[in-house]
Each structure stands twice: as structure tokens, then as C-alpha cells.
């Protein structure tokens, strides 16, 4: 099998200066990026040839992945290949045809990976811990054209818009691709992961220059449901669909739950890898007071931290109180500052005595390197 990553561009929330990184590079659980889960899932499924279709703002994603060394993907055969757009409006390729990342990926699939018949299409915005090989077995057994991986769950209001829901027949066939209903329990939510043959993928995306996972599911796949045998495969583990500032916040804090954390980081013995920075261990001062928090290495904590996710190299001074917040790398919280329901992007500085508060359903996002 080979892997191909399609992601959606970063959604903006009006008026708040949204994160400028592509979503795949957004941080999770203190030291991870969203893309780590997809890459780890693929490598744990013995997929070592991975293509990544890029949209925009992909600099930090490429820096993070590099040669893929941390995932055992720096290899002579296979590894990670990036397909960025060449130009704002992809002009003409050498042979005069319209060209785009998807075409180049298709060419890559047919030429460079001839021996692999099957393809996993995955979205790095959805995180879970899965071995795709079990889904591939089901795919072969049921002689499916496409296997759509889904999970049964409740969704938060923030992810409704970006959620793809499958209507599944008694025989397990996907009969419709739908929007999430307003108030429903336990719906069949797509994990944005599909298994199909390379040929099938190339046919489905013919004529597309570039597309995100939403378009693939809602338009390309939805219009082929009659023509193709699209079977559903249920994933029974933990999953988080991160598609907005609210969901970023919600799922980061949800991972404070130990059961969910185990399901994500140590499910059936599969580990999640990430880029390692060899930060110093985290140092706690004499008067630090920490409750229910996940704290990465390299931090220096002298104040109070409650119900929060603290990423690498964060400094929290004495007297400062951080509650219900996600502080990303290099955040500095000065003496006696107070934060509640805040997302601080990389390098934010909260000066002495500042007091900032959001609400759990409307966390305040502070853009990177902002000094408050």
C-alpha cells in the first residue's frame, strides 16, 4: 500500500487573526503536530511511500517533516514526496496540458510505485491511531472499489460544517454522503480516510488540479456512489476532527482524559512519532501548583497551571495562573498574569499582571509572537 495525504486549507474564524500555518502543522497534545498521527498510522501500517498534496502555507509542515527521518521515512525506496502547487494559477505543464498537484501525484502513483496496487487516502486534520491493513483486508474481502473509514460518534457544534457523514445501508455500502444533522447522537462520521486502487483514485480525480478532502468526499466520491461499490469500514477507537479554532481547543483539552489519551497514543501497542528536539526536562519551582495538565519538555513553571496543555519551552512565572488554556511553544507568561480559555500561538508573551479570558465555547486565540 502507499499513502496519499489530502488536507483542507485552514479554515478562518472571522475577525480573530487565525493561525497562519496549514492545519496539518497545527499542534496537538503539547508536542505533536496533527500530521504526526497520519504519518505514524501509515508507517505503523507498513506504508513507507507517502505523497502529500499541499495547498498553501506549507512551510512549517515541510520543515516539520523534513526527510521524514523521525518516522523512518528517510529511505532509499519510498519516503515522503511533497506535491506543492507550482504557481497561484497552475499554468501549463511541459506538454501543454493543465497541470496541478493532483496530476503530478497521479503520475507519481503510476510511475514510481508500480508494484503497489492499493492506496490509502488520508486527511491529516483527523487524528486517530489505526492500522490501515485491517481495513485493506476488509476492502479485498468485500471486493469494494472504495472503502470509506468512519467512526460512530457525537460531534461538537464547531465541527458540524466540516464533517462528512455517511448514510450506510444494511449491507455496509455507503449510499449517501451527507451533512451532519443538527441534533443527532452517534452518527457515522467519516475519518477522511479511504482505501482504493490507484487506478480508481486516478479516475475519481481526473480533471482536478488540486482538491481538499471535503471536496473529494462531498463531490467526487458522492457523485460516484452508484457507479462504484463504496463500502464502509468502522473504526472503533478514539478520533478527533480538528477543523476550526473551537475544535482545536476542544480536542486538545479532551486529551487530558487518560482513557482517551491511551486510545490515541498507545492503542494496540502502536506509538505516535514526532520530530524530536531534545529540549531539557521541564523544571518546576518550589511554589508551582499543577493540576490536570499535560506539559511538554523544555518548560520552566513557577506558577499555577490547571486543566491546560503546555507545549515545549513555555515559561510560566511565579504568581501567574493559567487555566483551561493551550499554550504553544515558547509562550511566556509573566508574573501574576492570569489566563483562562486562551489559545496562545508560538512565541506569545503575556506581560506582568495581564488578565485575559475567553470562554470554553469561544476560546480567545492570540496569534504568534504577539506581546500582550
Amino acid at each position: 500500500m502507499i499513502g496519499l495525504c489530502l488536507s483542507d486549507p485552514h479554515p478562518d474564524r472571522a475577525g480573530d487573526g487565525s493561525p497562519i500555518r496549514t492545519l496539518s502543522a497545527a499542534r496537538f497534545a503539547g508536542r505533536y503536530r496533527l500530521v504526526d498521527f497520519m504519518l505514524s498510522n501509515m508507517v505503523n501500517s507498513k506504508i513507507f511511500t507517502i505523497g502529500m498534496i499541499l495547498n498553501s502555507h506549507y512551510q512549517s509542515l515541510i520543515s516539520h517533516i523534513g526527510m521524514g527521518k523521525e518516522w523512518d521515512l528517510a529511505r532509499k525506496s519510498g519516503g515522503v514526496t511533497f506535491f506543492p502547487p507550482y504557481h497561484a494559477d497552475e499554468r501549463r505543464s511541459v506538454n501543454g496540458e493543465l497541470d496541478g498537484p493532483l496530476q503530478r501525484a497521479a503520475e507519481f502513483l503510476t510511475e514510481t510505485t508500480a508494484k503497489d496496487e492499493y492506496l490509502v487516502l488520508a486527511d491529516s486534520g483527523v487524528i486517530y491511531n489505526m492500522d490501515y491493513r485491517t481495513a485493506l483486508e476488509a476492502h479485498k474481502r468485500k471486493k469494494a472499489d472504495v472503502t470509506a473509514i468512519y467512526t460512530k460518534k457525537n460531534i461538537t457544534p464547531g465541527e458540524r460544517e466540516n464533517t462528512v457523514v455517511f448514510n450506510i445501508s444494511d449491507t455496509g455500502r455507503v449510499v449517501a454522503v451527507e451533512q451532519a444533522p443538527p441534533n443527532a447522537d452517534e452518527i457515522n462520521v467519516s475519518l477522511g480516510a479511504y482505501i482504493m486502487s490507484k487506478r480508481c483514485f486516478i479516475q475519481l480525480t481526473a480533471g482536478e488540479k488540486n482538491c481538499g478532502m471535503l471536496r473529494f468526499s462531498r463531490v467526487l466520491l458522492a457523485s460516484a456512489l452508484e457507479r462504484l461499490n463504496v463500502m464502509a469500514y468502522e473504526f472503533k477507537g478514539y478520533s478527533a476532527h480538528i477543523c476550526s479554532v473551537e475544535t482545536f481547543y476542544h480536542y486538545n483539552l479532551e486529551i487530558l482524559n487518560i482513557e482517551k489519551r491511551k486510545l490515541l497514543f498507545d492503542f494496540e501497542g502502536r506509538q505516535i512519532s514526532t520530530n524530536r528536539k531534545d529540549s531539557l526536562p521541564t523544571k518546576f519551582g518550589k511554589n508551582s501548583d499543577i493540576k490536570n495538565s499535560l506539559i511538554a519538555d523544555g518548560c520552566q513553571i513557577y506558577g499555577t497551571v490547571v486543566n491546560s496543555i503546555i507545549c515545549r519551552n513555555v515559561k510560566i512565572a511565579a504568581g501567574a495562573v493559567v487555566k483551561n488554556s493551550v499554550l504553544q511553544d515558547d509562550t511566556v507568561v509573566d508574573k501574576d498574569a492570569r489566563l483562562d480559555c486562551i489559545i496562545a500561538d508560538r512565541g506569545v508573551v503575556i506581560s506582568e499582571n495581564r488578565n485575559m479570558m475567553g470562554y470554553s465555547s469561544y476560546p480567545v486565540y492570540i496569534e504568534r509572537k504577539r506581546v500582550i
Partner: protein
């Protein structure tokens, strides 16, 4: 065959057991003992080499090398996986006419002459993996060239009362060595050798060959080779170092060096990033029942109990109601519910079951070290009420 000429290469002596550490080096060589929660002692000399511009390091291993070899890998964690140079692991090996173990520090380098010759170096830096320190060997090399020494020995001033534990150098006002005394009973000086030497390779090669033929020799740099050079009137110079340098060769010193990190995490040297093979485990979690005062905690730890004035290594679990105080806990140790751990070093994978006790209060002054196989006793009522 010369692959690529290097001006200076490092030879790292990593074959010793570190027998003064007893329990902690039963399964691993001393260079692979954990320090500061997420490092191994060997990270320090390797990091120093990389930051000093020395990109070729031969690591001579012998005692319990399995984990050490695995840890070093191809040197990728220190950016030492290079086309030319990088890390080479050099275990003792058989060759025509000999199947010898490394019989001493000098003999280990003697046996690897062929390795050194492939780089045709001008200088050879000989290092041990016994100490925690940050040092720029490049500056020392500059000094070595400037004074035109045959050998330069890094030295540090130690309190005179401790001087008899070290190799002591007596020097003239220009820091030229006039006498070398190994662990003198009545030290005349407090300049202790740090076990870091830079030699002119051509000179050293001659002395190693002579030393090998000497049946009286113990084949040790400090005891045999340096004194022989002095006797022959070669220029040996002392290079003074005044940064943090800590022996971690005994249980007490290992404990103390770990605790020093609580005072100064950077060991006095902020922009000298210690490179290491990080575990890649999730960040540590502190539960609503957990409490942490003055501690160093790293990846993969789960804290449900109380941790005070302690260093916790990767993957340590402290269950609810447990108390960890004044201790250094090695990787993946597990401390059960309501257990008490005080003033001790707990080895990797050690398990203190629920309601059991390890160590004694620090006031009693006895540091305990527990191996991974230790069976711990239940906490007595008296002990619990004394908390």
C-alpha cells in the same frame, strides 16, 4: 587507507563498568547510565565534540555494550551520521596474533591505531564518559597549538582537601607540567586532571607502541603514558577549565549532579544544547490529585501523587497517594499507590508496589540505591505517621 584527512579526531573511552556505581551498572555500561531525566552520560562528551567542531569520534566499548551500542546507533542523534567520519563504535576485536580485551585506557587507543590512521589526524583528543560538563574542546585545541605542547591536559581547580582523589598536576608559572601525581596522599597543588587529553598523534603513537612492549605497564594514560612523556622531557601543558564539571562515578555524586540541575538547569552554559536520543513519548501528565514542588520531569511521566525535590526520568509513573522526595528516579520506574520514596536512586524499571517504601528520610543521611529487581517492604505505621 586514508578516507578523509581530519585535523583532530576524538577517541572516547566508554568501555569501563564504572564499578563504583554497582547496582546502576549491572546491566549497562556507565556511559549509558541515565542523567537528568532524559540524557545518558555519553551525551555530554558527544555533544561537546559536535559543538566543538570535532566530527569524528571513535567510541571504544567493552563492558555491557549492548544498550550503549543501540543508544549510539549511527550517531544520528548528535548529527554524527556522516559520510566521512561521524561516530564509529570500536569494540575489542581479534586480529592476527592477538585476541585481547582492552587492558587499559592506553591499550584501548593502541588497539585502534588503524582506525585513527584512516583519518591521518594531526591531533587526537582522548576523552572519558565519566563526567557531566559542557566544554569547548576547540578552544582547548587552539591552546594546545599555541603553546606547542606534545600533550595538553584539561585541569580544574578542586578543593585541596579533595585533591588526593584526583590525578594532580604540578605546573610552572606558564602552566607547563613539571610533575604528575596520581591520587597523591599529600597533594602539593589543587589542579586536578579532568581525564581530557589532546595529543600530537605522531608523538602519542610512539609512546603507545613503547608502552605496549613494557611488561611492567598497566597501559593507562594517567599512570603510564603521561609519566613516561614527562620523564622524556616532552612539553606537557595544563589547560585550565573553570565551568561546571561533575564526576558522576559514585552513587552520591550521581545523585548530587542530578540535584544540581534543580539549581541550574543549564549547568552554567545556556547556548550549549545537549543532544540526545529523545524518547518521543507524549508530554508528562499531572493529574488533579498530583502535586509537584521543585522537580525536573520529562516525557511520558504520569503523576497522580506528590513529587518534591526530585528528578523523574522518561516514563515514570507516580500513583495516587504516593510520595517521592529528594530522589532520582530512572526510566520507566513505577511507584505504586501510597508508596513512599525518599532520598534514593531508583534504577530503570524498578517497581515500588502499592503501600511499600523505598529509602529513608534525608535527615538520616544515607542515600539508598535500588536495582530493578529489588523487593520493597510495606510502609510501617511509624514511618507513615512520621511524614
Amino acid at each position: 587507507m586514508i578516507t578523509e584527512r581530519k585535523e583532530c579526531i576524538a577517541m572516547l573511552l566508554a568501555g569501563g563498568r564504572g564499578s563504583r556505581l554497582k547496582m546502576l551498572t549491572e546491566h549497562v555500561a556507565k556511559p549509558a547510565v541515565t542523567f537528568g531525566g532524559k540524557y545518558k552520560i555519553i551525551d555530554f562528551p558527544l555533544t561537546n565534540c559536535v559543538h566543538s567542531g570535532i566530527d569524528t569520534v571513535g567510541v571504544m566499548t567493552q563492558y555491557q555494550p549492548l544498550l550503549l551500542h543501540d543508544y549510539i546507533g549511527k550517531g544520528q542523534h548528535w548529527d554524527l551520521d556522516l559520510l566521512h567520519g561521524g561516530v564509529s563504535i570500536l569494540p575489542p576485536h581479534s586480529k592476527p596474533g592477538s585476541t585481547a580485551w582492552y587492558s587499559g585506557t592506553a591499550n584501548a587507543v593502541y588497539q585502534n591505531q588503524n582506525f585513527i590512521e584512516t583519518f591521518a589526524p594531526e591531533y587526537v583528543l582522548v576523552l572519558a564518559a565519566d563526567h557531566v560538563y559542557k566544554m569547548n574542546y576547540g578552544t582547548m585545541l587552539e591552546y594546545h597549538k599555541q603553546v606547542g605542547a606534545a600533550c595538553t591536559i584539561a585541569v580544574i581547580e578542586v578543593p585541596l582537601k579533595d585533591a588526593s582523589r584526583f590525578g594532580i598536576l604540578n605546573t610552572d608559572p606558564s602552566d607547563r607540567v613539571v610533575e604528575f601525581e596520581e591520587k597523591p596522599e599529600h597533594p602539593k597543588n589543587n589542579l586536578a586532571s579532568m581525564g581530557i587529553y589532546i595529543f600530537n598523534w605522531r608523538v602519542l603513537r610512539g609512546y603507545l607502541n613503547d608502552d605496549e612492549l613494557n611488561p611492567e605497564s598497566s597501559h593507562d594514560f594517567g599512570k603510564d603514558v603521561l609519566p613516561a612523556m614527562l620523564r622524556d622531557g616532552l612539553d606537557l601543558y595544563a589547560y585550565r577549565f573553570d565551568g561546571y564539571w561533575k564526576d558522576v562515578g559514585t552513587d552520591e555524586s550521581l545523585w548530587q549532579a542530578n540535584m544540581d540541575l534543580l539549581d541550574d538547569l543549564h549547568l552554567g552554559f545556556e547556548d550549549w544544547h545537549i543532544l540526545s536520543k529523545s524518547s518521543g513519548r507524549p508530554p508528562h501528565f499531572i493529574s488533579p490529585t498530583g502535586s509537584i514542588k521543585s522537580a525536573l520531569i520529562t516525557e511520558g511521566c504520569e503523576i497522580y501523587g506528590t513529587v518534591e525535590n526530585s528528578i523523574l526520568s522518561v516514563g515514570v509513573v507516580v500513583e495516587e497517594g504516593a510520595i517521592v522526595r529528594d530522589s532520582v528516579i530512572m526510566e520507566n520506574a513505577h511507584i505504586g499507590k501510597n508508596a513512599i520514596v525518599e532520598y534514593c536512586i531508583l534504577d530503570e524499571e524498578a517497581v515500588v508496589p502499592d503501600n511499600c517504601v523505598a529509602g529513608e528520610p534525608r535527615e538520616r543521611g544515607k542515600l539508598n540505591v535500588y536495582s530493578r529487581d529489588t523487593k520493597f517492604q510495606p510502609v510501617s505505621d511509624e514511618r507513615r505517621s512520621a511524614l
